[in-house]
């Protein structure tokens, strides 16, 4: 039979030239196929384009020839070259009366043109005509083009005709009309909003394909607004019921599953309709239970339905019994050997734990296996899951994993995404400031410039503020450890700019604070930093300010600072910098060096970066000055209000330069471009207080410079202002971190023992929560120590925790099975005697901890290698078996194809691609 078919096909092809195309085209494909390099391919294609360009413009090209040219254009465009010169000919071809040509024209046009292309307007007329055609195939060709080409502006031109086609006698046309209207809805919802009743009518179409097309459209409409569709729940449920019960035509079966694509679509819609709606959800419970019961978990498509069902169950109003089933399905996925199913399982688990957080514990090892899987996709998905289940007690392990992951990938998109997650988790759950700083340093080091600037400011602020309590020792310890860590990091080559900025700031502020490093040493390091990134002005600004601070601290402490030669040349260079900001900084530095000790201590006090700067809005400190000025005959200050934002600066400037050239220096302050006046006010008045103390020394030039943004102060002040109230995030943790992460195997075995004894005692609780097949598939005996350790730290098997959790579970099981955990659960009722089948589970667990830690380490090595070899998926086996039985690769057919191709001379030479002839299913 198969052979007959093949022969028949070849005969058919023979009638229209072998393979239905001309020799030239075959030649083209062949040469491209044999091209040895990309450049050669390029050359061939360009030559082809040239020849097409020439020939397509010849007058009176026969239509059949034209069709071939256009197909060749499609081919060229598919290879990634521009074929726009031929678009117009494709458009012309759609006007042709011959259906074959018309269809080719439409195909080419839909492939070539986007919906906003200028040529579309030329096709509208043809489409309108074709939609009215008696021939339903012409109609269909036009509708297919409509779906691709009609944009918001042209919808009205075809809409009435398409609405008419909704009642066409051919189901094919009705279906495509629905699809077209769906497309219109996506483009511009308002154009078809009056057609909702028509859609609903088509939902009851006698042909299932039209109905399923309506489902696609419904899904999108419900996504936008659920309300108008609530009444459809009952009918959708009944359709789903019919599908599940095998009442749709047999041709919709797929691997013996009844209409799976329709089922999945319906489940998606029901998930939307049932979200937060108890009444609607209750309507669905029955049919959902039915699907869970009937679906066949040995085929891929059956699993697709089961997975969709889990999704639906986790988004509608919860039903404990069904949720239990969903948990079982998830467990089955996770335990599967197929990577695909594991992936789905991880995803499903991520959805489940939103509702029942405790169910993650049953799958600890499966999750860890996925995390260590060589498959990148699976790993990333597992990280997603971990992100969702991060809590204070497992944040360290999870963040460590994430950091390790981003260290090894190069994809910027995911690097940004995951590092922002790391930052979020670290900010929310950091167990200690030390850890937070370390983590941030790692993130900066790896993701570098992908990290937003704000994070750097937060980090500097944290180092400056310390624990936020009156524990100076801890704070200074934190700082000196930060300095130490940064000096270490500086040894690495190629650090991102943002990290260097943080380092410069920290070294400037705290580099010499604890006395273990000399000022020369730190300044030297700072100069080295600049040397690594010569063109980075922002970084230079940070460094100059840092050097300024260090010199000021040294002088204030009564020591003399001898600038090292590198530093001197660095500073000298900046006097002539193009950046005015940098120039100002070095002049400022220069001025600071000249100041005496006491003054220095008051302008740049040690460790005062987080001192609150009091904003004296009334400028009361100027009162005496104003009075004396008035007494000396000055004009009274006018219209204070209109210059409210910069009042502080202007007065300050006039204060400083009272005698000298006040007018000249006054000017720039008139209209400073200050985006946030509040911040500027803070900066200005901060300096003003310092400056007042010794205004005769502090030249006005410096006053000017200080008002421009000085990163160390503005960044702190800026974030301080913005972050008011966030501080409690970093508040002292309420537990000791040491208790969370078991440091050695003995520790783990303790915790595991506790959990296993808990499992024994509360076996009845596990009975309902642990899925039945756990009995079949016992946890492997030699689970490596490291995995257990990881599991313990990830899933928080702190002794107290494990005891408390099953108790809580038990309590729920008694009353409402798997309702969300209540925070304060009463002491557990007396546990029921454990059923016999669970005894072996509880037996098997305590055995492992008694293993010698050294053995466990040995196991760790062996298990890791054996874990990599997974058996072929059951699903695939089933598929393959079915295929072999029904068709299988037919060598005869391939041979014949081979013969035909030889006839036209397209046999790929040598071993370029012997697979060309291989049956795709082979």
């Amino acid at each position: 039979m198969e052979q007959l078919k093949t022969i028949g096909r070849e005969l058919a092809m023979g009638s229209q030239g072998v393979w239905g195309s001309s020799k030239e085209f075959l030649e083209l494909v062949k040469t491209i196929g044999e091209a040895k390099s990309k450049a050669e391919e390029e050359r061939i294609v360009l030559a082809e384009i040239e020849s097409l360009k020439r020939r397509i413009q010849e007058p009176d090209v026969p239509r059949k020839k034209m069709k071939e040219y256009i197909m060749r254009l499609v081919y060229v465009e598919m290879l990634g070259h521009d074929a726009s010169f031929g678009y117009i000919h494709a458009v012309k071809m759609t006007h042709d009366d011959n259906l074959l040509l018309k269809r080719s024209g439409y195909l080419a046009v839909t492939l070539f043109l986007n919906e906003d292309h200028d040529l579309i307007i030329l096709i509208i007329n043809t489409i309108q005509k074709d939609l009215k055609s008696d021939n339903y195939l012409v109609c269909c060709a036009a509708l297919t083009a409509v779906c691709r080409l009609i944009n918001e502006e042209t919808i009205p031109a075809v809409l009435p005709q398409i609405v008419e086609l909704l009642n066409h006698q051919k189901e094919l046309v009705r279906k495509k009309a629905v699809m077209a209207l769906h497309r219109f809805f996506q483009r511009s919802p308002s154009t078809v909003s009056h057609l909702f009743p028509a859609f609903q009518e088509r939902l009851c179409d006698r042909d299932p394909s039209v109905m399923s097309a309506v489902l696609c459209a419904l899904y999108d409409m419900i996504l936008v607004n659920v309300k108008p569709f609530k009444h459809l729940v009952a009918s959708l449920v009944s359709i789903l019921k019919q599908a599940v019960e095998h009442r749709l035509p047999k041709s919709y079966d797929y691997h013996r599953t009844p209409a799976p694509f329709v089922q999945i679509k319906l489940l998606k819609i029901l998930a939307l309709l049932g979200t937060g709606d108890k009444a609607a959800s209750e309507n669905m419970f029955n049919v959902l239970g039915d699907i869970l019961k009937r679906s066949d978990s040995t085929s891929n498509i059956g699993n697709a339905i089961l997975y969709e069902c889990v999704r639906t169950l986790t988004s509608i109003y919860t039903n404990p019994r069904l949720l239990q089933n969903a948990a079982e399905i998830t467990a089955k996925f996770l335990k599967s050997d197929s990577h695909n199913l594991k992936y789905m399982g991880i995803d499903a688990l991520g959805r489940l734990i939103k509702i029942t957080p405790e169910c993650a514990e049953n799958h600890q090892l499966a999750v860890i296996d996925c995390l260590e899987d060589p498959d990148d996709t699976l790993k990333r998905k597992t990280l997603d899951l971990l992100y969702k289940m991060t809590k204070a007690n497992n944040v360290e392990v999870i963040v460590e994993r994430m950091v390790e992951y981003i260290r090894n990938i190069s994809d910027n998109h995911y690097k940004t995404e995951i590092s922002s997650r790391v930052i979020e988790l670290a900010e929310r759950y950091a167990p200690s400031n030390q850890w937070f700083i370390q983590t941030m340093n790692q993130v900066f080091e790896i993701a570098g410039d992908l990290v937003p600037q704000k994070v750097a400011h937060d980090l500097m602020r944290l180092i400056a503020e310390g624990a936020g309590e009156e524990d100076e020792d801890a704070d200074s310890h934190l700082r000196s450890s930060a300095v130490q860590a940064y000096l270490q990091i500086l040894k690495e080559p190629k650090l991102p700019s943002i990290l260097l900025q943080v380092i410069s700031w920290v070294l400037g502020e705290y580099g010499i604070a604890d006395g273990s490093h000399s000022a020369e040493f730190i300044i030297g390091k700072l100069c080295d930093i600049v040397a690594t990134r010569p063109g980075d002005d922002k970084l230079k600004g940070y460094v100059v300010s840092a050097i300024t601070k260090i010199c000021a601290f040294e002088k204030a402490a009564g020591q003399t600072v001898d600038l090292i030669p590198e530093c001197v040349s660095f500073i000298e260079e900046l006097y002539a910098s193009h950046s005015t900001d940098l120039q100002q900084r070095v002049y400022e530095f220069h001025a600071v060096l000249k100041l005496d000790r006491d003054t220095l201590a008051s302008i740049l006090p040690m460790d005062a970066s987080c001192e609150d700067i009091e904003v004296d809005k009334d400028l009361s400190f100027l009162n005496s000055f104003v009075e004396s000025a008035l007494a000396n005959g000055s004009r009274p200050y006018l219209s204070d209000n209109e210059r409210r934002g910069m009042g502080a600066m202007t007065t300050l400037a006039s204060n400083n330069d009272a005698g000298t050239s006040s007018l000249l220096r006054f000017q720039p302050y008139e209209k400073p471009s200050i985006p946030e006046p509040a911040a500027a006010l803070v900066t200005a008045s901060h300096y003003s207080q310092d400056a007042i103390d010794q205004h005769d020394i502090y030249s006005s030039a410096i006053t000017v410079s200080t008002s421009s943004k000085a990163p160390e102060s503005s960044s702190n002040d800026g974030t301080r202002l913005k972050l008011e109230g966030v501080q409690k995030k970093w508040g002292r943790p309420t537990y000791t971190p040491e208790a969370q992460v078991p440091k050695n195997p003995i520790n783990i075995s303790d915790s595991v023992k506790v959990s296993s004894s808990a499992a024994g005692k509360e076996a009845s609780s596990r009975n309902s929560s642990a899925p039945p097949y756990t009995e079949r598939k016992q946890p492997p005996q030699e689970i490596s120590a490291e995995k257990k350790k990881l599991a313990a730290s990830l899933f928080g098997s702190k002794a107290g925790d494990t005891k408390a959790k099953p108790a809580a579970k038990l309590q729920q099981n008694g009353t409402s099975k798997k309702a969300p955990a209540k925070p304060t659960s009463p002491p557990p009722p007396a546990p029921a005697p454990p059923p016999a089948d669970l005894l072996d589970l509880s037996d098997s667990l305590p055995q492992t901890p008694s293993v010698d830690p050294v053995d466990q380490l040995a196991d760790l090595i062996s298990v890791d290698s054996s874990a990599a070899t997974s058996t072929t998926s059951l699903v695939e086996q089933v598929f393959d078996a079915g295929k072999v039985a029904t068709k299988g690769p037919s060598p005869q057919a391939s041979l014949q194809k081979d013969a035909v191709s030889r006839q036209v001379g397209v046999t790929p030479s040598g071993g370029t691609n012997p697979d060309l002839f291989k049956d795709l299913f082979g």
């Binding site: 093949t6 393979w19 195309s21 075959l26 197909m71 499609v74 081919y75 465009e77 598919m78 990634g80 011959n98 259906l99 269809r103 080719s104 195909l107 492939l111 195939l137 779906c147 279906k175 699809m179 769906h182 497309r183 996506q186 394909s209 399923s212 097309a213 696609c216 035509p249 041709s251 919709y252 797929y254 799976p260 694509f261 999945i264 891929n300 699993n303 697709a304 197929s338 990577h339 695909n340 594991k342 992936y343 789905m344 498959d375 996709t377 699976l378 998109h413 037919s890 057919a893 391939s894 194809k897 397209v906 691609n913 697979d915 060309l916 002839f917 291989k918 049956d919 795709l920 299913f921």
Partner: protein, 161 residues
């Protein structure tokens, strides 16, 4: 919703592309390049999904051809996998033991079939029988039209003689 369909050979040659969302020619080339680099080296035991720029690409290898579809991150991956399989089955039914060569030389047919299965990024027909029926109806119609045209022109020629 499906963003695009991509058929690439094991050597990274493009065999068929269909874009359901707007992509410029440049973006298309970039997507093809990135995805071939991502998918082709993956081993047979790994899962058939890769995440790509916030979307997901579901792929399946048949002999030397990779069928890839790019779907939204919220879509059901297994469903996507079966859509691919469905398409291949229909192709197989149409060509009879479909092989890569069939798709190379009859890519317009492959496009026509794809158009009957997917429209605007949605699965439109899940019944293999109906798809085959439509395609063969189109094919026979084409034949008929040809015959009619030739007989008509004959008649005209005779009449005008």
């Amino acid at each position: 919703q499906i963003r695009f369909v991509l058929l690439i050979s094991r050597q990274g040659k493009v065999r068929l592309t269909k874009w359901y969302s707007p992509y410029t020619q440049k973006e298309r080339l970039k997507a093809i390049r990135e995805l071939s680099a991502l998918i082709l080296p993956r081993g047979p035991k790994l899962c058939n999904f890769v995440e790509w720029k916030g979307l997901k690409v579901v792929y399946k290898r048949y002999a030397s051809l990779y069928f890839c579809i790019c779907v939204d991150s919220e879509d059901n991956e297994l469903d996507g996998l079966e859509v691919i399989h469905h398409y291949v089955q229909v192709l197989d039914r149409y060509f009879g033991n479909v092989c890569e060569l069939d798709l190379i030389f009859n890519f317009h047919k492959a496009y026509f079939i794809l158009d009957e299965i997917l429209i605007a990024g949605e699965l439109q027909e899940s019944s293999k029988k109906s798809v085959s029926r439509v395609i063969s109806a189109q094919d026979t119609l084409v034949e008929n039209a040809k015959e009619q045209a030739s007989s008509l022109s004959n008649m005209i020629a005779q009449a005008t003689k």
